[in-house]
Symmetry: C2
Subunit: 284 residues, 2 copies
């Protein structure tokens, strides 16, 4: 199956990411329907021409006519939804998602799913500090990474179709990683950084610091504004990988503490030279 304009695409979950997917795909001329438990979200998306059709209920005809289904739900809700409603899918439908952790969900979905359906996981590494369809914005994909997360059982055509979604939405970089490697990477570049930002905000009473915060502190704490329901779930689902990354960071940070305590200026400079060289690679 190719990502053609005559396909029926169904988005399940019209939050910030689901809504931004719908917006981007609809703008490019695809048929986009959506299901969300929140009636107002569906109403908003219809009124603002983000989707063609929508329902706040488990709508048999929307589901059974979909060729491609994108799930943008919390992980445990996603799994329940599949268990309860997968009998409604059209045979041969391709199913993908936007979940931020993979090992804990991908295999369970693939093992649960009817054998005439295929689940191919994806992770759009995009977001905002605000939520809901009202903040949907398909330009958030422009500078972002899109990762296809195939397992050994996925077919070539489903993987290619999943990549095509990322291309259509205009992601800057599209790549592919198996679930375990994905979760290791995400534990480091995304979850560890969120833990640090949270701890920076909670470790010290900061109300009186508002007047003094320069760019550095603002940059390091921007992501401390966090949806506690979503992120606590994501952290727990990736617990082992995240704990390992936190431990690596703590060890390094304690080492830096010692360097300063010992006034070992040469070692300190070495660290700074290394961090500068590595960070410079990101700005190329």
């Amino acid at each position: 199956m190719k990502l053609d304009k005559d396909l029926n695409i169904l988005i399940v979950g019209l939050g910030l990411i689901g809504g931004s997917y719908a917006m981007g795909l609809h703008k490019k001329g695809y048929n986009v329907a959506a299901i969300d438990v929140n009636e107002n979200s569906i109403k908003y998306a219809l009124e603002n021409n983000i989707i063609d059709k929508g329902s706040a209920k488990i709508d048999d005809s929307l589901i059974s006519s979909a060729d491609l289904v994108v799930f943008a739900l919390y992980p445990h809700v996603f799994l329940d939804w599949i268990k309860n409603n997968q009998h409604l899918f059209k045979s041969g439908a391709v199913i993908t998602d936007v979940t931020g952790v993979k090992s804990c969900i991908v295999y369970e979905i693939q093992n649960t799913l009817r054998s005439d359906l295929e689940f191919i996981a994806a992770h759009p590494m995009a977001g905002k500090e605000v939520y809901g369809i009202e903040n949907a914005d398909d330009t958030i994909f422009k500078e972002a990474n899109y990762i296809v997360v195939p397992t050994d059982t996925n077919t070539f055509s489903a993987i290619e179709m999943c990549k095509a979604i990322g291309e259509t939405l205009g992601f800057a970089r599209i790549s592919s990683l198996p679930p375990k490697a994905h979760d290791e990477m995400i534990g480091f570049v995304s979850q560890l950084t969120h833990c640090i930002a949270i701890c920076l905000m909670t470790c010290s009473k900061s109300e009186h610091l508002v007047d003094y915060t320069g760019d550095s502190f603002r940059d390091l704490t921007r992501i401390a504004r966090i949806n506690e329901n979503m992120w606590s779930e994501l952290f727990l689902l990736n617990k082992d990988a995240l704990l390992a990354q936190m431990k690596t960071f703590i060890t390094e940070f304690n080492g830096f503490y010692e360097i300063l305590e010992n006034e070992d200026i040469e070692k300190m400079k070495e660290k700074m030279i290394k961090s500068t060289a590595r960070r410079a690679l990101f700005d190329k």
Copy 2:
């Protein structure tokens, strides 16, 4: 003394900050001279109309005609400069600086200085990841904080003049803190964040991660590109305050590690709700 246009202002040290001061003050119509050991920096500043006069030597007439002298040197170079050359200052001249740490330098300068001169410390919390007069840019002050750091011995008129420099340069917020409180605050909002950024870049081989870094990791590591000579000196000069802030952060981060290890989702959400509320204050 007031910050009038007929004053002669001398900038000592034409790096990024000294150069940006010169640029901003000169644009506003002040007489700006500069001294820098690097002949090319003086040449560049003259050719680009950043200063009126300049010298790469200890120029007696430039120094003795200055009413206001701004030092934009590394702390230990600043102190040596004062010891060696203060006999050249005009009686009644006001001296200020841009040094990022204060307790370790302010009292020593004040105690060293001739009694007919006054040193009033300031900290412009602005910067870039690039250096030198070639990158001078007075717009970096627009969103930034300017902190006057008076001691008990400073006069009202010098404090007001020092504030006026910040106003003239167009800083967004101007405030005042005594040296110890300043160093505590800077240990937290600036130095601790730089330590974290450095450790994020050095704790894990990141070359292969370049393709996957989203905004979060980029934000948290932007300041990991760091001038190792300047920052290692600043860290050592503020060692006690910085170690205290690092310890506070380590304790909080270890606590978060435990929360995740114990899967205590309620405590985790509490932390996230707190970090979100505190960070939201910055965006008002």
